[in-house]
């Protein structure tokens, strides 16, 4: 690496430490009259071109910024495992067994209103998608499950879901106190 001229180094340091974009005169005030600021800025702009940061001019003021094509790196996604709420699992189950269903239909089957976030969560998880509109008054959105839903739950197709008789045989249709308590806890106004 060849020797970097002092003036260039000074302007580089000043712009790096600056809290706001700086004009040429302002930079000059810091680095002193011996430095040709414009020339130093041109040198720097050239030097940083193609690097991870770049020197840019905006309205006659200069500042460093990270290169726009790397913006995606500054934002990192972190995965967090979270269990679905009871309401979300029930909603998902109703969609899976009855699809396509509208929100009102889901509420009718659940016997409880669903909060706005519940469907959002299922869609965010990638298990539920809007599947058009029902051609009835109001044209409500209808929902269906996705291939990702089948994949997550290890199902080949929706036909693999146990039927009502299977559920009954497994004792899963017995009214459970817990289920009733749940109902009481969640109770919003009941859907008709």
């Amino acid at each position: 690496m060849s020797e970097v001229p002092e003036g260039v180094r000074a302007v580089e340091a000043v712009l790096f430490a600056a809290e706001e974009p700086m004009g040429v005169d302002e930079i000059g005030d810091h680095v002193g009259p011996d430095v040709d600021v414009k020339w130093a800025l041109a040198e720097l702009q050239d030097h940083y071109s193609g690097r991870g940061i770049e020197l840019v001019e905006r309205g006659k003021r200069w500042h460093f910024q990270t290169s726009p094509d790397l913006a995606y790196i500054l934002r990192r996604e972190r995965d967090e495992s979270r269990r679905l709420s009871r309401a979300a699992v029930e909603t998902l189950a109703i969609i899976a067994y009855h699809e396509p269903v509208s929100r009102a239909e889901i509420e009718a089957i659940r016997g409880v209103q669903i909060s706005k976030g519940t469907l959002d969560v299922l869609m965010e998880a990638g298990w539920v998608r809007p599947a058009g509109r029902r051609e009835v008054p109001g044209r409500p959105l209808i929902y269906a499950t996705t291939p990702a839903f089948l994949a997550h739950f290890g199902l080949k197709s929706r036909r693999d879901l146990p039927g009502i008789d299977d559920l009954k045989a497994a004792g899963l249709l017995d009214p459970i106190d817990a289920a009733l308590e749940q109902l009481v806890l969640e109770t919003g106004p009941e859907g008709d």
């Binding site: 809290e19 990192r76 189950a93 109703i94 497994a170 899963l172």
Partner: protein, 253 residues
């Protein structure tokens, strides 16, 4: 021992004001001792503890003479140093354990440690410090961590949830199972019809329909008894019983 070191004492030329200020600047006896030792301009390892003690005592005496307030720990240290001095001057055989030499050495060691740390602190402060000598980026864009939820649920959760939805929303119809009974009206008609055919005293049980159903039989007996009482009240039948719980006989009046 450095006899001329006394000349370098800050006391020698100190006026009252300066002395007060100096005391304010010192945090404790060890601190003052260190400053006095430094004024001898010699290596702490070679300093004469005896000379140092005398300087300290002179300092305290002078301060007292100037009616300055001296903190208790300065006086405690003065007393201890006076003791140490007397020990150092006494013949060897009268000395206690630990020996005054050892105590003097330890005091010296402590002064060295404090001096070392004071110097280290100064060098630390003199380094390239962020915000004074070097500067960080003035306006960093910042890095963001976006939390993305990975939702978890398994098949059992799904089907049991569906089961419980269905279970709790299944329309509940309550049917009261019908028990075989003979109504009072039925019994009245039956007894009234049959009484015409029986002229002699007849046991009430003979009026009951034939049945294997014990429940129905009890109901029929109860209703028929009430019906017989009603007919007796109207004067249509007579009733006879010899004793409680003995057979009840009925005939047309």
């Amino acid at each position: 021992m450095e006899g001329d070191s006394f000349d370098e004492l800050p006391l020698a030329t100190a006026d009252a004001d300066r002395l007060t200020l100096d005391i304010d600047g010192w945090e404790g006896p060890l601190d003052l001792l260190l400053t006095l030792a430094r004024s001898q301009k010699v290596d702490l390892a070679k300093i004469s503890i005896l000379a140092l003690v005398e300087q300290y005592l002179a300092f305290i005496a002078d301060a007292k003479r100037l009616k300055l307030e001296i903190a208790a720990d300065y006086l405690v240290m003065a007393a201890w140093l006076a003791y140490l001095k007397s020990c150092l001057l006494l013949p060897k055989e009268e000395q206690a354990d630990p020996s005054p030499e050892e105590l003097a050495m330890r005091l010296q060691l402590r002064l060295q440690r404090l001096a070392a740390m004071r110097e280290a602190g100064a060098r630390l402060m003199g380094g390239d410090r962020v915000g004074r000598d070097v500067f960080l980026r003035g306006a960093p864009e910042g890095l963001k961590v976006v939390r993305k939820s990975l939702w978890q649920a398994d098949l059992y959760d799904l089907i049991s949830a569906y089961g419980s939805v269905r279970a709790r929303t299944e329309p509940a119809v309550h049917i009261v199972s019908r028990r075989p009974v003979m109504t009072l009206e039925e019994a009245l008609l039956r007894v009234e019809r049959m009484i015409g055919m029986k002229l002699a005293w007849t046991r009430i049980e003979d009026f009951l329909p034939e049945t294997q159903d014990g429940e129905y039989r009890k109901s029929a007996l109860a209703s028929s008894f009430v019906a017989t009482l009603e007919l007796a009240r109207k004067g249509k039948v007579e009733m006879q019983q010899e004793a409680p719980f003995s057979p009840l006989y009925v005939r047309a009046a």
